[in-house]
Symmetry: C2
Subunit: 368 residues, 2 copies
Amino acid sequence: MSPRKISQQRRANVNIHDVARRARVSIATVSRVVNRISTVDPELAKRVWKAVNEVGYVPNTQARALVSGRSHILGLIISEITNPFFPELVQEFDNLAVAQGYEVMIGSTSYDPARTESLIARMLQRNVDGVAVMTFGIEEDLVQKLVEHGFPLVFVDAGPDLPNVRVLKVNYGEGIRQAVQHLAALGHRRIAFISGPLEMRTAATRRDAFSRSMAELGLVVPAAWIVEGRHTMESGKAAMEKLLAAGELPTAVICSNDMTAIGVLHALDETTHRVPKEISVVGFDDIHLTQFTLPPLTTVQMSCHDLAAAAVEALRAGIEPDHPKAAQREWPIRTHLVVRRSTNFPRGTLPALGKAGVRDKVERRRVD
Amino acid sequence: MSPRKISQQRRANVNIHDVARRARVSIATVSRVVNRISTVDPELAKRVWKAVNEVGYVPNTQARALVSGRSHILGLIISEITNPFFPELVQEFDNLAVAQGYEVMIGSTSYDPARTESLIARMLQRNVDGVAVMTFGIEEDLVQKLVEHGFPLVFVDAGPDLPNVRVLKVNYGEGIRQAVQHLAALGHRRIAFISGPLEMRTAATRRDAFSRSMAELGLVVPAAWIVEGRHTMESGKAAMEKLLAAGELPTAVICSNDMTAIGVLHALDETTHRVPKEISVVGFDDIHLTQFTLPPLTTVQMSCHDLAAAAVEALRAGIEPDHPKAAQREWPIRTHLVVRRSTNFPRGTLPALGKAGVRDKVERRRVD
DNA sequence: ATGAAAGCGCTAACAC
DNA sequence: GTGTTAGCGCTTTCAT
């Protein structure tokens, strides 16, 4: 059995000619009807649709792409799908893209330049209409490669200042300010911060937002209370251990992302300090997982839905010649606090509650 | 600016003719060289490769697919990427597929028939070469739809007995037996089981494997200790609460999946029963998340790598005319226990350990 | 071993 | 408004 044979047997699918024959019109008319070009006689159109349904016609995307030069595929580059931040983003992005008539081609850099390069080559080969780069640590040469090929691009936080590059500007400050104010409102004054790797732009921005928010309230943060992590659980654990060893303990810790906060929870679980009774913990990102931790984590939400929606829209703005927002280059994304159970009054300010082991029932609140 | 204009401007990419001209050969020869067809004169081939590199030629996938009838795209249908079971599977599948020259088109059913139908239509439209259905609860009409279209198919656990359908047979019993024996070895005799929704085939199979393994050891399980959950955290929590209310408490609980086990952890966290000191908990699946729970979960691993590798290979066996395993219809998948920290000796059999709050240091062991 | 030429299924220019 | 026709970029006969 030759490959040829197989493909023929499978390709057997009905095509535009079959429909045309059945509806007794030309293939051009079928094409017009299927593409909803309005200059077709309604009578004919009806006949065509009827034929389409009768023979079960499905337009061949490859042929379409070949001739029109547009694949209707959106590239989405992330770090790794197993990084808990991404699944939700991917899901939203996919939903939105599909709803708007695009397919999405997902690719992971896995933090590996070689992989990334081949990924871009593959996207090029499949002729994607545009690509959204949602990895937060953006590698320079990745950007370079992409820009060279000239397709519409979307980046997060920062990107080259080029006509077909759009960037999603996340307002980290907003959510972090809410976190600081939430803690301050509960009575906290001694708040530490565990940052991400500072060479990562977004990590530096988040840390700065923390410092600024604290300063606004006239609260001082000792240098030892701002410790650098790596946005991983292990690094969060290590950072908390450092804090634990540093002498005076803060009453609250804000983390640059949720995985870090989970690490903090683990570090504290190995001590006698209970969360949130004796120490409050706040995360950042609001990944799915935060609902499953013990206790569920208070965190700053960066809405995946907003991020995805902006990415898809910005991409379309770059792809479609007369998109209403074709000229918009910066797309703002908001953040806000979601209060769960890992924050409470500072230790010592809470009336004793009897039975240890029964978690203090702090009301679930939501700040919008 | 017309759409036409845009596409032309982008399509500008070099094509096979450019290479042919440059290498002073026909396009047929270029095609042969690029496709590594061995009947080409080595000299010519060298010239062609040189030209390819010089002009930066990348074959156009759409054209290739159009003429050859094979898209080199593998469809992968999952339930939802936000279900923690799937990201790893997707990643492995993608890695393997790409390494073998395929692209993958991922789609989620989201447990929604309408969505699923449109998903299949999209896969059809994109002309995937085959599809792997990795959702565990398989809906009858999904199967039907897929089978109708005649492309090679892969299912998990069960599928119709058709020539181009292959099924991945997961050996649940193996891992569950290991879990039961692990607990028995620690001294447990009173073990409960929280199942998944029993209309889901895989859930029933897992529960049966539990009953059988217990029977093998001569252990009896009161009816009240086999409770039905829904494979969600909430249902796990509810099931554990039922167990808690049922009078005599088991010393260990095995769950049909990890999310259920996490729910159990949450339920127990609201009581005075500590894990694993007073009650042991075992999950199933070994999702990523189990490393992040408190305590890290002992669980039965269903290797995503094995699952993905088998899926890709089985798909290729169905797609490629003379694949060595073209005839193999059933593909076995093994499972095995991964011991972490949520299991320990039954309560009362452990020497008192002083300081509460400091977790008992059970050695990490791994059973293979 | 190589080239010429016939399509794959479709869109879009052009003619009527 | 509708049909005819020329490709899109490639693979694969078929002839040489």
